[in-house]
Symmetry: C2
């Protein structure tokens, strides 16, 4: 029985697992993201030890931006990240050379989307969005049954949304765009605006209606652009489960009845949902990437 290795390579921590799916995770490890060589070395050591000879392939869902195009000479690298030391790191190549197995590679959010498609809240769908709202805002998903790539890969956190500066004078925290979606609605934006981390703020704090407004504005634009069959929204901020009903109602209001789809008009509770795999979507999706790679599909969903 072959085993697959998954690496969820995050900007603050790496999560690694060996197994075949959510009911069969043989081993798991998590450690902080330090220097590239040290961090990747720990992941390789874990996969070698826990996977042994049964390790058939590895999948990596990585923070980015990344190069997920298998036809590119820089496939499998983290490209222009501002994270010190990590720009132009050949993550997939290092793992492949060390372990001698096929390596699937995609963005962290596309990996999570694949996990949700395989085992979670997006089963049976061909077009959906997976969005994470936390330290940053990242989005991926499937269109026409395959993971979204296009020119590079989606950067849904960087769409522009309306920002009423009279109501919210906070200028936004995105180093590239100021008050883009991520700049207004990520965890650091909440902290910058209210001088307190989101998880310390009570459910009746004014931070949350504003956060729900920005989330609804972002989701409404994603809906109009992609016409997804569902939006799976995870990440640290969405641990505030009280956000979901407020966001759902506000998305309906913003769409104003224009999209005459029962999924939106009548069943929005099943349309905008948390990940069924919870915080394990990323690493389980990496295992699904590994499985695809072992089947010769070197690029997730291709």
């Amino acid at each position: 029985m072959p085993l697959w290795g998954g690496i969820e390579a995050g900007g603050t921590k790496f999560v690694c697992a060996v197994g075949t799916g959510p009911e069969d995770v043989r081993a798991e490890a998590r450690f902080p993201t330090t220097a590239p060589e040290e961090t990747i070395g720990r992941a390789i050591e874990f996969l070698r030890r826990e996977g042994g000879d049964a390790l058939a392939a590895v999948g990596i869902g990585s923070f980015g931006p990344v190069d997920p195009n298998p036809a590119s000479p820089t496939f499998g690298t983290i490209t222009t990240t501002p994270k010190p030391g990590w720009a132009h790191t050949d993550l997939a190549g290092a793992v492949r050379r060390a372990l001698g197995v096929p390596v699937g590679f995609d963005t962290d959010v596309n990996a999570a989307a694949l996990g949700e498609h395989r085992w979670g809240a997006a089963q049976g769908l061909d077009t959906f969005v997976y969005l994470t709202v936390g330290t940053g805002i990242g989005g991926g998903g499937m269109a026409n049954g395959r993971l979204m790539h296009g020119l590079v890969h989606p950067e849904m956190g960087h769409i522009r949304i309306p920002h009423d500066r009279a109501k919210d004078p906070y200028p936004g925290c995105c180093p590239y765009h100021g008050d883009c979606f991520e700049g207004l609605a990520s965890g650091p934006a909440i902290e910058g605006r209210w001088q307190a981390r989101g998880e310390t703020l009570p459910a009746d704090h004014p931070a949350w209606p504003l956060e729900a407004e920005y989330l609804a504005l972002g989701l409404a634009s994603l809906i109009c652009t992609l016409s997804p069959q569902r939006l799976v929204v995870g990440g640290g901020i969405m641990q505030q489960a009280h956000l979901f009903p407020v966001v759902r109602r506000r998305v309906q209001e913003l769409l104003g009845g224009y999209l005459q789809a029962p999924a939106i008009l009548d069943a929005i509770d099943a349309y905008i949902v948390p990940p069924a795999l919870g915080s394990r979507a990323g690493v389980l999706g990496a295992i699904a990437l590994a499985q695809q790679a072992s089947e010769g599909l070197h690029r997730a969903g291709r």
Copy 2:
């Protein structure tokens, strides 16, 4: 040699053609969109007369919203349009019953996208956007090599974009959303804001920098969401060719160097382009839809 019929069903006019492609249009007709029965009757009469026994299939690219899902009982209908008399019109069914041939059916913009993919500015791409900016703003295109549908179909004109009311107090003209992308940047928005139709305004009129700003904001969000390999932008407003260089530069500024793609950083003149088929993209795309339908692909790109 089979012939295909194409119908570009617009809210103000219908364009019909019989042929096999851009170099082989045997006959073409255009007439105003009046009552459904009369208008569809004229299209059927034209196709019957010009196609004769050689007519193998018909493709329809329609104004909407439409139901483009061949598995749906209302496939091929215009659904909830506010256009008087046209809501719930079974356009594809009427043509199929009258002519007895397979009928392909999609949105007007997806048809135009298919035309550009087959013969125009999107050849060889698997993920791109086709946007039309005119009486409304509509967007479609391909993701992963197939026309975009998802839950219903994209409604890219209705994304929300930043609107600085101090700089532009015009409230927007979208009956559903006020100042969405279409509400701020469509032809009627220009006319409502400046009390003059766009085509009467000189190239140095202040209408155009504002229009370019809104177009750039919309395109930047589409780029971040979909990561298209190209954006093909047509429609009446884009006849103002001076808009293109301004929009391209502003898109680069808005993206702020975040997307490290040569197509955007170094070759944006080939990244945001007018349709190569010009105003014929729609009806030629309808012919391409017909060709797919005659090959048993009842839904474009499926």
